[in-house]
């Protein structure tokens, strides 16, 4: 079997969302002498990207994404002992994510948190109806690289702008990226309030976080 075929099999195993299938395929790839980093990057991570695409198209859903992420984690754990210590534990970035004060919507924000986590970011989901200063406090506490803010109502949307202003006032704006989202948010809104990016859905949130932080 060529390496390309092996990567495809690894990717398909992730898309199947079955941990047993992923572990068996990772063992097979390791036995064939493929370096662990390639197994992860070209096989498992490629599979997670495909899961993201299927999620976006409504073919797979949150439980499936979670199962795929769990299967990927098990696959990576198998390879960890063969990898340099730093490489195994390296996170892509630290993100504080929450729904702004006054807004109790949770589902979309939670999906974004899960997808970011599954993609290798360290995510601190601080929940819904979050007092604005809490975003900043949590970012300080965790040395976050990015704050993600969701709002699902036009009445709570200005909270995103307020947090950006507060970051400026507290001298933190240059050190931290800001991503905004939620039904009433738009690219134009993100530009207007000086956010670094707007993400329309969870897959886009992952792509834009990677774009900004890597």
């Amino acid at each position: 079997m060529s390496n390309e075929e092996m990567f495809k099999e690894l990717s398909d195993a992730i898309v199947s969302c079955k941990k047993d299938a992923v572990i068996a395929t990772v063992e097979k790839a390791r036995d064939e002498g493929i370096p662990p980093a390639e197994i992860i990057e070209k096989g498992l991570a490629a599979g997670m990207n495909e899961v993201g695409v299927l999620f976006e198209r409504g073919k797979l859903f949150l439980p499936h994404v979670m199962m795929a992420a769990g299967a990927m984690e098990a696959g990576v754990a198998l390879l960890e002992k063969d990898m340099p210590k730093d490489a195994a534990s390296k996170k892509l970035g630290i993100i504080v994510n929450g729904t702004v004060e006054g807004d109790v919507h949770d589902i979309g924000k939670s999906i974004v948190s899960t997808m970011l986590q599954s993609s290798g970011f360290e995510v601190h989901d601080i929940g819904r109806d979050v007092p604005l200063q809490d975003f900043i406090d949590k970012a300080k506490e965790t040395s976050a690289n990015m704050i993600g803010m969701s709002a699902l109502m036009t009445t709570t949307l200005p909270g995103q702008k307020d947090v950006i202003e507060m970051l400026k006032e507290q001298g933190m704006r240059d050190d931290i990226k800001v991503m905004v989202g939620g039904a009433p948010a738009t690219e134009a809104w993100a530009n207007k309030i000086g956010a670094d990016c707007y993400a329309e859905n969870a897959s886009e949130a992952v792509a834009k976080a990677k774009e900004l932080l890597l």
């Binding site: 797979l60 439980p63 199962m67 134009a188």
Partner: protein
């Protein structure tokens, strides 16, 4: 100089587009729906017709004579009184006055009584008040008066309800536990809805409107369909409307089925068949508006989904039209130019039976 037409973005912002830009967005929006739901895209003639509707110079448009359809309202009873960011206009009035204004002044063909929280669960502690209000409204009104609320299964999870929040469980990779929590919540939602409607039917309600079914995912629809099934058995002549929350039924559970069909991932033309099978009289397809796209893109996409649902449906389809749905911008008080254009297109091209 090329003529530009004043239209809207999905967030209500004014945008000026040429006919070529309008046609391109219409094609793209329709293709998006066709691709996602595997349904036919609109034909060239249909897209041209929507373009004509959009480019009409009048501020508002209407359907051609003979093509009028029934119009009903959901939370309308408190749309007059409400003033808490919920699209109400804040005029102090009772729910009876709100209902009668819709019936006698605004031409509503059916009406709905709704509670300020507008979810089924919070109706339980005030059921006596709801029963009395229903009775008083029925004594004063002629048009069919339903009771309406959202299934809103999220209210059964912590911190609002007894079952552990599946979102928290998922984050801890407790997937089976999350699914079990949804199954328990669904059982309670079905039971509560049936209990509430038994009392409102005893108070003279003409039926029920399930509003925003599926808002909490497939479990929410699972519970609603079982409630519809139970109510239909108990009240063969009851009027039951099932209105959705969005075009795609999200699989928060992922594996729930109704009548052998997996609920996760259903599109409007598939949702309607299950609603009819459960016993609904009317189905309310919903297509959410993308705030970053233009009104031609959103409207063509919405009409494509809804046309497919109408064609597949064994029961009348009353499309949901309003803030952020049906190709209408996401704006508390949607502008009449966008609302009337989208409504006309839904009637004349998607072929809906009502709005």
């Amino acid at each position: 100089m090329t003529t530009e037409y004043a239209l809207r973005m999905g967030d209500g912002k004014r945008v000026f587009l040429t006919k070529e830009q309008i046609m391109a967005d219409l094609q793209e929006g329709s293709a998006d729906a066709a691709d996602l739901a595997d349904v036919p895209a609109l034909s060239g003639d249909e897209l041209e017709r929507i373009a004509e509707i959009m480019m009409t110079p009048s501020r508002m448009v209407g359907v051609e004579p003979g093509k009028e359809v029934p119009v009903t309202h959901d939370i309308g009873t408190i749309r007059i009184d409400g003033d808490q960011g919920n699209s109400g206009v804040g005029i102090p009035s009772s729910r009876l006055i709100g209902s009668m204004m819709h019936e006698r002044a605004f031409g509503a063909d059916t009406m709905e009584l709704g509670h300020i929280d507008y979810s089924f669960k919070p109706v339980k502690p005030v059921i006596a008040q709801e029963m009395q209000t229903m009775e008083v409204c029925q004594q004063n009104m002629i048009v069919p008066l339903l009771y309406g609320a959202m299934p809103n299964m999220g209210l059964y999870y912590t911190p609002d309800g007894p079952f552990e929040n599946p979102g928290d469980l998922m984050k801890a990779f407790k997937i089976r536990e999350a699914q079990e929590s949804m199954e328990h919540a669904a059982g309670h939602l079905t039971r509560d809805t049936v209990w509430i409607m038994q009392r409102l039917m005893a108070s003279g309600a003409d039926g029920v409107n399930f509003d925003t079914v599926g808002a909490a995912g497939d479990g929410d629809m699972y519970a609603s369909l079982h409630a519809v099934e139970s109510l239909r058995k108990q009240y063969p002549d009851m009027y039951i409307e099932v209105g959705m929350a969005g075009e795609l039924l999200l699989g928060m559970h992922g594996e729930l089925e109704y009548d052998g069909t997996v609920l996760a991932g259903l599109w409007p033309h598939q949702q309607v068949k299950l609603a009819a099978k459960a016993g609904a009289n009317v189905f309310g397809p919903v297509v959410n508006t993308n705030t970053s796209k233009t009104s031609p893109w959103n409207l063509a996409r919405a009409v494509t989904f809804v046309k497919a649902a109408v064609e597949a449906s064994p029961i009348p389809c009353h499309v949901n039209m309003g803030m952020g749905v049906g190709g209408i911008p996401m704006f508390e008080t949607p502008t009449i130019d966008a609302v009337s254009r989208a409504s006309k297109a839904m009637v004349e091209i998607a072929g809906v039976d009502g709005i």
